[in-house]
């Protein structure tokens, strides 16, 4: 990890305020921000890992667990929200037994909540691995997920 991070950081070295781009690059390369990655960035930038984590968690774009094989995104944008997105998320959490931002222990699924996928006409929507499922109802959630198992 130390070396991967070194390489990622190299282009940003000596640039002030480069922490965010570095974090973005790390997430792009490795899929998430791991504990090891934060420690390695801390060593390189001579910062404390806690400060880095604090900055990272201020933004919603970063995730801290290894993404699972399938990414389940439940939309909670305005349109989806008023049409029952919350219940869909609830149901999904129960089925997978994880919270948004987490990955199931078998690494099969990751769960995320998103704000508007740009297809409000189809609300409420769930997106699994970039496939959009329109007009989802609570009973349907189980089917969508079990298809992937």
């Amino acid at each position: 990890m130390k070396n991967t991070i070194k390489n990622i950081i190299k282009p940003y070295q000596d640039e002030k305020g480069s922490l965010i781009p570095i974090l973005q690059a790390v997430q792009e390369k490795t899929g998430f921000i791991s504990e090891d990655a934060v420690s390695a960035i801390a060593l390189e930038l001579k910062m404390s890992e806690h400060e880095i984590y604090g900055v990272a968690t201020f933004y919603t774009q970063f995730r801290y667990t290894k993404p699972g094989d399938h990414m389940v995104k439940v939309c909670l944008g305005t349109a989806c929200h008023v049409r029952g997105g919350e219940q869909l998320l609830d149901r999904t959490e129960t089925i997978l037994n994880i919270k948004p931002g987490q990955t199931t222990p078998d690494s099969a699924f990751s769960l995320e909540r998103v704000a508007c996928m740009g297809c409000c006409a189809l609300a409420p929507v769930i997106v699994v691995d970039n496939k959009i499922y329109p007009n989802v109802t609570v009973p349907k959630v189980e089917k969508i997920i079990s298809k992937k198992e």
């Binding site: 504990e35 934060v38 420690s39 801390a42 060593l43 001579k46 910062m47 404390s48 890992e49 806690h50 400060e51 880095i52 984590y53 604090g54 968690t57 201020f58 919603t60 801290y64």
Partner: protein, 796 residues
């Protein structure tokens, strides 16, 4: 000139409105401001009005300007502040704050009621010093007009030393900032955002795993009960507060001891402390009560009878000591001084040795052994370093060599950090730990055997590349040419190879030194593991001279009073004030002052004394601390006297044991690594029948019928010290009077003296008592920090 509440006042350039107000005795409520921290502007409590400025700027972040017209208090501001505070309190348990029976209640709830969850001030460990509560009282909060949310966060109690209840946290950020800005650690941070914002660590790690040093600075900075010291949180208001000096390391932090039921229950750093300015470390802040209140403290004198140590009265024990000690020839007795003794005790011990037993066989189990002292004398003219803590903070470059600074002298890292924030380059030569990589700009991992080649390499690079302080060197230093030619043989490539580092790193270190102005070098006990420690000190001083900073040499002495004990002449070859025993004039002065005939030959050094004891040439040994190598064989001794605060392995052979008072139980002075003489003040009475060491010595002298030991208080002893020791004239840093002309020392490799002796002692100890044995949380921390016992080496 500006106007504040109708009053015209002057102000300092760069001051904030808040500072101007405070300077002029005007109170503006604040919560996120804290002394020493940069303005933050988070709590919005300090809102004010400024003419021709829109809105309500916060006083703490608004710079004062000429002609400003400021209003700090009017009904509008007051109601605004009330609003702000009500908002803050809507997320903070406030039942007690708005309770209309609270006056009555405080009569019954004198001390806080121990409870799991804090639901109001009556149940809060912070209630007697709570800033939030004080501000609420000042603003007269009677109701909270917003719905209450209890965050319902789990209590965090798994870490050592302090508890965290973030349900009480108002997110003022003082803890985060003190840890980052002042301590340079950054063990905590704001995490998440919006409603989920919480002070926390990366990935929710424990503090222990996250590199927290448990210095307690965050606990002291917190304006609420969110952070509380576990050991003392339920004690309520102390009966008494005493300002004293921490005697657990040589930084010399001022502490306020809190006493309850005649026991020291807690200690806080003193914001006025000249050495620490409100900072302390895990030892001073959290470890003192457990250290001094242990159940098995020695409470009465013990004498050996029929092979067993049995309790005795002071008279019996002192009488026995006097009779026995009087039997031996001067060459057969010896004294070992603990570097934790007060100046008064050390002074009287050497006086006792010299006057009553006519021997110079007295030495200290300290980093400040004779070779170190002598080579410091070559540099500074006295057996002391030349630097001060204030100088460290002002340095342009700093080198720390031969100690694990963050663990050994934690509060010094505050000054190092301060220098670093102002642009200083800080290098560490010695062991590497992850956390060091963010405290230091450069970490050079080199074993002590590599110090000599590395330092010679740096010197050579400096001398050859030039760029050093030519004016200073030509004007103030002799023997530059000798130094230069002695460096000819040094080959940088070989040096790099021996040390296992790159040539460019050596160059980098050299460049930093010559290009960053005045510097400081902090050197610690690991240099004793080098072949020739004295030579290392000379090399370090050479480097400082080339950088034109003669006042930058700081010894990281291991004992809290290593400096003072040496100043007091508890050494085999020096009388008080570093006057050599072979110097006839000095000797006469002391013979007159003490009305006694004094020994003229230098005595035995620490290793020689121990060898003598093992071989049988030393028959009687007087030991004042437990800092004795465990391997030492004391069986052949005829007579062993020991002072101690706890039972120690020494007692297996001791014939008399005197129970000594701990530093929290006695008055006196100790001298820090910057030569600062500071007062100790008793926070509690000595435990049981124990006594301050100086009194014990006086008692024995009295039984021997020797005059000159009739003191009734430590301050009387100090008065005598000031009279006979030209260095000491009172409290404060004693004046070194640096020489006008310095000598650069040629670099010469020498072999290790055969008479040196390696020994091991606990890393954190007080008179040989391992702190981690008495303070269980400290043991956890030591394991985590991977701190091993210190190996030390003493040379004759």
């Amino acid at each position: 000139m500006l106007t504040i509440d109708g009053k015209e006042v002057d102000f300092k350039e760069g001051a904030t409105v808040l500072e101007v107000a405070t300077d002029n005795g005007i109170y503006i409520p604040t919560l996120c401001t804290h002394s020493g921290l940069l303005p933050f502007g988070a709590c919005r409590l300090c809102l004010i009005k400024i003419e021709n400025m829109r809105g309500f700027p916060p006083a703490c972040t608004t710079p004062a300007a000429e002609e400003m017209k400021i209003i700090t208090n009017d009904p509008e501001l007051n109601s605004l502040r009330k609003n702000v505070l009500e908002l803050i309190l809507s997320e903070h348990p406030h039942s007690c704050i708005i309770c209309d029976k609270k006056e009555l209640c405080s009569y019954y709830h004198i001390s806080p009621t121990k409870s799991g969850h804090v639901t109001g001030c009556a149940f809060c460990p912070n209630k007697d010093r709570c800033e939030l509560k004080q501000v609420a009282e000042y603003l007269g909060i009677k109701e909270i007009r917003f719905p209450f949310t209890y965050k319902n966060l789990p209590l965090e109690r798994e870490d050592p030393f302090f508890d965290r209840d973030y349900n009480l946290c108002i997110l003022c950020g003082r803890c985060v900032r003190v840890c980052q800005e002042i301590r340079g650690i950054g063990a905590i941070s704001f995490t998440k955002r919006g409603h989920d914002t919480k002070i926390g660590t990366a990935f929710g790690k424990s503090h222990l795993d996250g590199g927290c040093q448990f210095c307690g600075a965050c606990v002291d900075a917190c304006p609420t009960g969110a952070l509380s010291a576990r050991g003392s949180k339920w004690h309520g208001v102390p009966d008494k507060e005493t300002t004293t000096t921490c005697a657990l390391c040589s930084v010399g932090c001022s502490l306020k001891l809190e006493t309850k039921w005649d026991r020291v229950m807690a200690a806080h750093p003193d914001t006025e402390g000249p050495a620490n300015q409100g900072q302390a470390c895990v030892r001073g802040r959290f470890s003192i009560p457990a250290l001094v209140n242990g159940a098995n403290r020695l409470k009465y004198p013990l004498i050996r009878r029929n092979g067993r140590l049995v309790p005795a009265t002071w008279d019996e024990a002192a009488e026995l000591a006097a009779v026995k000690l009087g039997k031996y020839l001067p060459g057969e007795t010896a004294f070992l001084t603990s570097p934790f003794l007060t100046n008064e005790a050390a002074y009287l011990l050497q006086k006792f040795a010299r006057v009553c037993l006519v021997t110079n066989n007295i030495d200290t189990a300290s980093f400040f052994s004779v070779p170190v002292i002598e080579s410091q004398m070559k540099c500074s003219g006295m057996g002391a370093g030349t630097g001060t803590i204030e100088n460290i903070a002002k340095s342009g470059w700093i080198i720390v060599i031969g100690d694990d600074l963050l663990a050994s002298h934690p509060v010094l890292t505050v000054n190092v950090n301060q220098a670093r924030k102002q642009g200083a380059t800080v290098s560490l030569i010695g062991s590497e730990r992850d956390i060091n990589s963010r405290m230091f700009d450069t970490c050079v991992s080199v074993e002590p055997s590599g110090y000599f080649p590395l330092l010679s390499g740096i010197l050579k690079t400096i001398v050859e590349k030039g760029g050093f302080d030519k004016n200073f060197v030509t004007g103030k230093c002799d023997d530059f040419d000798k130094l230069k030619s002695s460096l000819k043989k040094i080959d940088i490539k070989t040096v790099a190879g021996t040390c296992g580092i790159s040539q460019s790193l050596i160059k980098k270190l050299a460049t930093t030194i010559v290009s960053s102005g005045r510097g400081s070098i902090l050197y610690g006990p690991k240099i004793l593991e080098c072949d020739d420690p004295a030579q290392i000190i000379s090399l370090l001083f050479n480097i400082l001279l080339l950088a034109g900073s003669p006042a930058g040499l700081v010894p990281l002495s291991d004992g809290a009073n290593s400096q003072g004990v040496a100043d007091m002449g508890a050494l085999p070859n020096f009388l008080p004030g570093y006057q050599h025993v072979t110097d006839k004039d000095s000797l006469t002065v002391f013979e007159n002052a003490w009305s006694a005939k004094l020994p003229e030959k230098p005595g035995l050094s620490y290793p020689e004394i121990l060898n003598g004891a093992a071989e049988g040439s030393i028959k009687a040994l007087y030991v004042t601390g437990g800092e004795i190598p465990q391997e030492t064989s004391l069986e052949r001794l005829d007579f062993l006297v020991a002072h101690g605060i706890y039972p120690s392995p020494l007692f297996e052979t001791a014939d008399i044991v005197f129970p000594a008072a701990a530093f929290t139980e006695e008055d006196g002075t100790i001298t820090s690594l910057e030569r600062r003489v500071q007062p100790l003040q008793a926070g509690a009475k000595p435990v049981g029948m124990s006594m301050p060491d100086w009194k014990i010595i006086c008692k024995i002298a009295e039984k021997m019928n020797v005059k000159g030991f009739e003191f009734s208080s430590a301050s009387e002893v100090f008065d005598e010290i000031c009279k006979v020791n030209p260095l000491i004239s009172g409290h404060g840093i004693w004046d070194l009077k640096l020489k006008d002309k310095f000598t650069l020392t040629p670099v010469k490799k020498t072999a290790r003296s055969k008479k040196s002796m390696l020994y091991e002692k606990p890393f954190w100890h007080y008179r040989g008592v391992d702190l981690t044995e008495k303070v269980s949380d400290l043991k956890i921390l030591r394991k985590k920090m991977n701190i091993e016992h210190r190996t030390s080496n003493i040379e004759c």
